[in-house]
Symmetry: C2
Subunit: 584 residues, 2 copies
């Protein structure tokens, strides 16, 4: 062993001990008579002291060391004269007796500090240096800890972690698969799993009763800022359970994480139907850390001669507390915000409830003071409040107002990352209409069960959009961290579902045949859920981007700029695989 201790553990109780430490040179301070070095490893920082008077040669040697040099020192733990109470080792330092350079280091391209001077691209290229920084290291430590907590919790609940294959069969339904050419079976391809969905259902058929896996999944999608081509799920499935049992189990697990990681206790998580969430927040993943709920105004505002409102399917707004003083400029900025293509509203109406009880709005021409009071009453507004109103087709407008609500929540500091507001969203629609392809798609996936009381609607195509599923999402602070459903375990119902999705029997058999076969040999009732583990970690870490919680992430083009992957492969490799590159 190169060391007797780490850089994070020596305290005043170790004074007098002879120790050997290893680490990286974080910084060095030359004070003439003394040179001090902060030695860093994963566990902390320990100060090294070199004395020019008592050991000038060693002190000279120390002064020549550059940042990030890897060194080993032997010395005695002594009490510091000027203590640093910000770090656990701040009361001591090492009076160094000997120094060995284990490896030199070029000057890093950015500073290895909590706030680095390196830009995103540079830090990605040198990710191994970025990870040396405390914030990144802490993220990876948190991720490790959360994985341990999850595994031990689920183990205590009799779940078995079972590894499912990574080289599986490609199924065109859903997102795009990554595929892997098979050399041993020329012309054929494996797919990388988008999730172990079918395998976990097979494990239920196999009687494994409670399955989980923290597992890598793959999706060949055009990447947004917070998407990665490979990501990690906590994937779970249970047999002989109903929706209620799944919600309780994973609410228990989530509470356990909150308690252990954040020291937070929750009574129980509120639940909201999908329809209610859409109506009150315009989103199936509402951020309920703050109110500012939607208020519908059709009956209050229509018929006053304001064409925009009169012609709209839905007029809906939010009441922003205490913002009646917003300036023209601020209001214009909000209008610009909702008009951005990402939000897509045509206009925004405001009504100010002034402190003196009067009203001022962008539609004073159409609405009298009394009309505006009626609007304010509907909002239960107080003097000093600002009402912001959008209108248009119902679902679209709700989505736009949702964006505005989140923007206002952000502006007013109501989205504190240290506050956590979990929520179950339940009763999702089973099917989703797609205008482009003119057919229904499964909102979750084709194995999701309808609510028993809605099953009869499957025989009425005109009511398909109304069928509710036994499907649920767990949402924390407006982020969907997990979701799942009760599965169809009955072959007849499954066939009906495939029919609804426009699959011929042949298509269904080709894609899901082995699963359907399995279901004829005694499938138990089962249900499950999967958490997005990267996202869960980022949420617990109080950071927005999942990339910060992945050791070696890819950029938005799916590239790892550090290793230079993907890259061309050799002619020989292509020939062995019996494939050709054919660039358009």
């Amino acid at each position: 062993m190169y060391r007797t201790n780490t850089c994070g553990e020596l305290t005043i109780s170790n004074v007098g001990q002879e120790v050997t430490l290893c680490g990286w040179l974080q910084r060095s301070r030359d004070l003439g008579g003394m040179t001090f070095i902060d030695l860093r490893d994963r566990y902390g920082i320990t100060q090294l002291a070199f004395n020019m008077e008592t050991n000038p040669a060693l002190c000279e040697q120390a002064r020549r060391l550059g940042r990030e040099y890897v060194i080993q020192v032997e010395g005695i733990v002594i009490e510091r004269s000027s203590k640093n109470n910000k770090i656990p080792t701040g009361e001591i330092e090492i009076e160094v007796r000997s120094l060995t350079v284990l490896n030199e280091a070029k000057t890093p391209p950015f500073t290895i500090e909590d706030n680095s001077d390196g830009g995103d691209d540079l830090r990605m290229k040198y990710r191994y240096l970025d990870i040396r920084r405390n914030p990144v290291r802490r993220n990876l430590e948190l991720r490790h800890r959360m994985a341990m907590l999850v595994r031990n919790y689920l183990n205590s609940q009799q779940f078995l972690e079972i590894e499912t294959p990574m080289l599986i069969k490609s199924t065109p339904e859903g997102a795009r698969d990554f595929v892997v050419p098979s050399r041993m079976n020329p012309g054929e391809f494996y797919a990388l799993p988008q999730s172990p969905q079918q395998y976990k259902q097979l494990l239920m058929v196999a009687g494994m009763d409670r399955y989980f896996q923290i597992v890598r999944c793959f999706r060949d999608e055009d990447l947004r800022a917070d998407r990665q081509p490979e990501f990690t799920q906590i994937d779970c499935e249970m047999s002989f359970v109903e929706q209620e049992d799944v919600l309780n189990m994973f609410e228990g697990m989530t509470k356990h994480l909150f308690k252990e990681v954040k020291g937070l206790q929750f009574d129980h998580f509120p639940r909201m139907t999908w329809h209610e969430a859409m109506r009150r927040y315009g989103s199936d993943k509402p951020d309920i850390r703050f109110g500012m709920e939607f208020v519908e105004l059709n009956d209050v505002v229509k018929g006053k001669g304001f064409g925009l409102f009169d012609g709209a399917e839905l007029v809906v707004g939010i009441c922003v507390k205490g913002c009646a003083e917003y300036t023209r400029k601020q209001l214009d900025a909000l209008t610009d915000f909702v008009k951005r293509p990402q939000v897509g509203a045509g206009s925004m109406v405001y009504v100010k409830y002034n402190a003196d009880g009067s009203f001022k709005s962008s539609v004073d021409k159409f609405y009298t003071q009394d009309d505006q009071r009626a609007i304010a009453d509907r909002f239960q507004a107080q003097p000093g409040d600002l009402m912001l109103i959008l209108c248009g087709p119902a679902m679209k407008t709700r989505g736009q107002l949702c964006a505005l609500r989140l923007e206002m929540g952000g502006q007013l500091g109501l989205r504190n990352p240290d506050v956590y507001a979990p929520l179950w969203v339940i009763d999702f629609p089973l099917l989703e209409w797609d205008d482009e392809t003119q057919r229904f798609y499964a909102m979750h996936h084709p194995f999701t069960a309808p609510k028993p009381e809605d099953e009869a609607l499957m025989d009425q195509p005109e009511r398909w959009g109304d069928i509710r599923a036994n499907a649920y999402d767990i949402v924390i602070n407006g982020v969907e961290v997990g979701g799942g459903s009760v599965r169809i375990h009955d072959r007849t119902l499954q066939n009906k579902m495939f029919h609804t999705l426009g699959f011929s029997d042949e298509q269904a058999a080709a894609q899901f045949g082995f699963l359907m076969d399995a279901f004829t040999y005694g499938a138990p009732p089962h249900a499950g859920l999967a958490f997005g583990f990267d996202r869960l970690c980022s949420l617990f870490g109080g950071v927005d981007t999942i990339r910060d919680f992945i050791a070696f992430p890819k950029n938005n083009s799916g590239r790892d700029v550090m290793s230079g992957s993907p890259s061309p492969i050799s002619k020989e490799q292509l020939e062995e695989l019996q494939i050709d590159v054919k660039l358009k």
Copy 2:
């Protein structure tokens, strides 16, 4: 919840309770007045009793149920009249009050019993039914348990589990990569990792200090019976350690597994150099559950006019205790065994040390009784022993004798799967000569460090074969369950190594450039090891094939016969990826 209890937990202390159970119908016995059903779930079997007198309708219903039906029953726990002390629930049964069929089942294509009537292929096709069988279920449970034990142990030793990417850069060195075409970067490919080797070394450069990961790895090799295209490693790396520290750490982990899983305690694991292992057992993974060590005979047997021995580089044999009575037929069978192409010996010589003190050999013509006594003395043989001798080129002959030794060990019952004999094999050669390509290859990989005392030999190409590496394998019962090495952390030494392997600077930079770059920014001394997790599980499970410990394995053509993967993909998918299938 569909049930109040599992099928494995009710005992005499529950008598009188009203319970609801769910499970699969294992078997049913119609005794006229009574019908009994064994109800099975993952946790056990509980007997259900139906009484024709008290509830004829229910009893009739029960009689109509087929094997593997999924049912739910409500009833009262009662004491059994005839108890079964082989199962935990054997003192009770359920007097059933009501019965619900949750799902019907077609008759399974093979019996769901410990010893099934299904052949391998059939059981693979219906793997989800195979897993219902106790032996397979227990294997997966053991695997889960071992993964939990490993993770908790390494966590307690301050290791962090860090996920490394699955979509990485292809490196032609080593075994063949599986590749993944990148749609977003047409003409370019990712590779699936053969191991996270480079990433774990980067994590050491990143200061993570102690890393592990239970991780899927991929190798596109022609498959042997005990190989899978995807397999799982316990992958580990540590900084600021020497070989001794790594051996101690993972010996500790392995002992922990032995203690927890098998109730076995070990003092410490013996160590043997690679050269010693080859000399004494003809293998770098000797099975030391039994002796029968190699005895070299050149000086005892040469010069007696037996041309085969006289012309051989090495004459070497084993002494098989108490087998002097082997018949001509048995000895012929052994000769046939060593002459099989898989073993490849030209002949086998035997010397019997008869109980009466006389000798009988297949080379009596050349060796007098005194000569044979000298041979026997060298073997330290006793009357009643049988000596088996092979000759030829040294390394080849050792390999052949190793096969014979294992065969004899097997025949004599010396390879008891309940006995465990772990061993460290150390000081592997750094380089291995390949006759075909006429160059040296790294025996482990290009990052393995030579022993410091052998470093000077790197400047003497004629001595390259003699360089020993700081590389080690952990071997249990003749199975290599893990291996690793101290890594090169010095850029100059690494360049020298690449030179030795015949890489130009450009080739080295193209393949390993980012790792080499990383090493210039302060790489700590580091070392690591990886266990083959599938193999480790099979060893602890007392079974030879890793396939039995993988939920959904592939066959020897890399096919999953259950799902029918790999399979052709659509024209559209190929076009999007800008590749063409071009069958030869």
